[in-house]
Amino acid sequence: MDAAIRLKVNGALREVSCDPDAPLLAVLRNELDLKAARFGCGHERCGACLVLLDGVPTYSCAFPVSAVREREVVTVEGLGTEAAPHPIQTALLEEQAGQCGYCLSGIQISAAALLAKTTSPSRDEIKAALEPNLCRCGVHLRVIHAVERAAAMLRQGAAA
C-alpha cells in the first residue's frame, strides 16, 4: 500500500506517496527526479547508489524509504552544481578522473564524507574510504589524485 512519506532531501522538504518499503534509490530517481544516485547492483556491493544520510555514506539501493525518517538526505545534486561545484567535483574534472563516469556519483559521496572528517587524508585513508565503490573502467588512480586535490583546495580555503 502506498503511504505519504516526508523526506528532507538536499535541504528541501519533499513529500511523496509510495510503497514505504521501496528503496530510497527508486524514490530519489523516479519520484523526485534526482538521477545522480545510480543503480548498480541492488545489493550494497558497488557503491553506485550511495547518498549521505546525516553525513554518513549509505547505500540507497537497499534502504527502505520509510526508514529515512528525520535524517537529512544529500545526493550529488545537493553536493554542488556546475555553477557552484563541491571541491571534489572540481577536482574530478581537473584530474579528468572518469571514463564512463557511472561510478562517479557514489565516489563523490564517499569522498565528500571523508573530506568532511579530514582535509589531510592519507593515501590509505582515501583508499579505505573508497573501498565501497567499484569502478570497472579503472580510473581509481585519478580518483585518488582528485580526492587529494580536493583536500588541498579545502585546506587552502580554510587557510584563506
Binding site: F39, T75, Q96, G98, C100, L104, G138, L141
Partner: protein, 707 residues
Amino acid sequence: MIRNTLPQSLVDNPRLDQWIAFEPDRTVTLKTGKVEIGQGILTALRQIAAEELDLQPPQLKLLSGDTELTPAEAFTAGSLSVEIGGGAVRLVCAEVRARMLESAAAKLGTDAAELAVEAGEITRAGTSTGLDYWSLAGTIDLSAQATGSVPTKRPSDFRVVGRSEQRIDLPVKVFGGGFIHDMVLPGMLHARIVHRPWTGAQLSTPDEAVGRLAGPGVEFVRDGDFVAFVSPDETACAAALGRAWLRLEWTGGEPFAPEQSEAEWLLSLPTKDRQIGPDNAPAPDAAFRVEARYSRPYLAHASIGPSCALALFKDGRLDVWSHSQGVGPLGGSIARALGLAPGSVAVHHAQGAGCYGHNGADDVAMDAAIVALRRPGTPIRVLWMREDELSSSPFGAAMVTEIAAGCDADGRVLDWTLRVTSPTHVSRPGAHGEIHLLSAEALATPVPRPEGREFPDERGGGATRNSFALYDLPPQRIIHRLVPRLPIRTSALRGLGTLGNVFAIESAIDEIAERAGRDPVAYRLSIMSDPRARRVIERAAEMAAWNPDDEGGTGSGRGIAFSRYKNHAAYAAVVAEVEVDEEVRVKRLFAAVDAGLVINPDGAINQVEGGAIQAVSWATKEQVRFEDGRVATATWDVYPILRFPEVPEVEVQLVGDPNDPPLGIGEVALGPTAAAIGNAVAHALGVRVRNLPLSRDRVMAAAMEAG
C-alpha cells in the same frame, strides 16, 4: 606521413553532408557513427575536426550513433574509431575547408592560397575578410561526394590535435546525469525480464502461476520462454522478477555443469581446425624444448551500470534507444527477429556505463523491443539487474593456447607451433549475417542460436588475435581449433583472443629465456628487430629500473611483456612488480606505449591506465563459474573485481612519433599487463602458474608442487 587512402567509413558514407552541417547559431555539427562508450571518442573526433576546419573545439557539436541522422559506421570496436572514423572525419573536414576557401577566393577575387581560417572566419594576411563558414555555407555543395584528395594538415602545423583536451561528456556525468538510465519518456512503463537460466531452458510454469508471481499493479508478457513483468512502478516490477527467479520452473535444454568453468574443458569438445602458416616439425638439433599449455577463463564484462534500453512501437514504427556499439546492425537484427520491415526500426544511441565489448546492450534493446510490440503506443524502459548483467550477457571466451618451441642452447628458437582452442569471440548482432539476440532464442517462434563462427584473420581475427608472435622466429605454425557448438554464449570482450595469446606467448618467451639463462629484457631485444617494438621494451624496462641480476624467488618479483595490438595497432610493453604470499598483489605497473600520433594524450593515458587496471583484475581475480545448471557468479560477492585498496600504482609513457599515423590504443594494455603479471609471479615464486586467473588456489597449488 599520414596517407590519404579512403577509410572504410568514408567509402560507405561518401557525401560531405553525411558528416557535417553548418548551423544558424554559428556552430558546426559533426556527425559520426562512432559512439561514446567511456573511451573519449567524441572528444578526440571533435579535436580532429577542429584541427582540419580551423575551428575552436567548442564551436563543434557532436551528433553520434543514430540510424537516421549519422553516417553508418557499423561498430565502435577494435580500437578502430580514431584510425577509421577519425580518418574519415579528417578527410571530410579538410575537403570542406578547401571548398570554403575556394568559394571565398572567388567572391574576393583572390587566390585561395592567400586565405586562411581562424575560428571559422576567413582571413587574409591576418585580418578578417568579413566572410565566414556560415555565410559561405550556402555557396558550396555539401551533397557532393568526398574525394579524399585534399591534403590534410601536417603534424607540425597541429594546434588542437596532440594537445590534451578535457572530455566533453564528463561534466554532465560528474553532476549526476548523462546516462540512458536517466531517460524518461511520457507515459513510460518499466519492465524487467526473466532470462532463461541456461541455454535452451523451457519454462514449465503455466501462465496463471506466472500471473500470480506478477503481483498487484504488475502485468506480464509471455512469448514462449520469454517473460517480462511490466508496470508503471519500477519497484513492483523488480519485486516480481525476484519472485520469478525463485519460483519459475525450467526443464530441458543444456544446464551448465561445473567442469565447464575451466578453459581446459574446451579440449574435450569437437573442433573445426585450420592451420595458418607452413607445416613444421620439431627441430632435430634442439638443445631444449619448451612445451606448455596456458589458458584464460570465461570473463564477464561486469560493467558497473547494468544494461538498459527504451523502445516505443507506434504507427508501425519501432524506435529504440540503446547504448549498443553498433546501432545500425542492432536495428537490422531486431527488425529481422521480429519480422518488421528494415526501414521501420530506428535506433538512437544514448550513453551507457562503461562498455568493454559485446555486453548486454544489444540484448536489452531486443528485450525492450519485444515488450514494446505488445504495448503499442507505450514507451517501455527495460533495466537489467546485476544478475542479468553478470550471467546473461555474452562472456569473453575461454581459451587454451598451447605452445611448443625447440631452441638452441642460447635460446634461439628453431621451431615454433602455437595451437589455440576456443569458441567464437564475435557473435554480435549482424555478425556473419546472423541475428544474435539473446531473447530471440526464447520466443515461441525462436531464432535458434547459430554455430559459432570466428572473426576473419584479415580483420584481426578472434581466437587467433595476436597468435602470431612478432619476434624474429622461424616460420610459425598456428593451429586454430574453433569450438563451434557449446552451451556457453561467447562474444567480443576487449582485445578478443589477445589476452590468452599474449599471456601464452610472453610466458613461453620467459620460459625459453630462463632455460637459456638469459635476462627476459635482453632476450626479447635479441629476437626483436622492429625498432618501435624495441623502443617500448627498452623504455618500459628503463621506467621500472629493470635489474637483470634480480634473482627473484623471494615472494616479490617483476616481469615484462610486450605486444603490438592485433599486430598492426599500437605497441605496448609493460613491467609489473608483484608481491605474492598466498595471494598475488600487484604493486606497480610501468607501461610504454607507441601509438604514433596521439590525438588527445591525456585521454590516451587514461585508456592505458584503465586497461592496465582492468587487466590486473582479470589476471588475479576473475573467472565465470557454473554450478547447479546455472551461472554461479551472478553477483559481486561471487564475481569480485579489483577494489580501490588493491589498485597498483601505474605509470604510463607515450613514446610514439607524431609523424606516424594514429594507432588504436583502447585495448593495447590488457594483454601485456596480464602477461607481465604472470611473468612477475613466476619470478617471485620460482614456479609458473599457466592458467588465469592467478588466484589464491592456483598460486598455492603451484607453490605446493614446487615444494
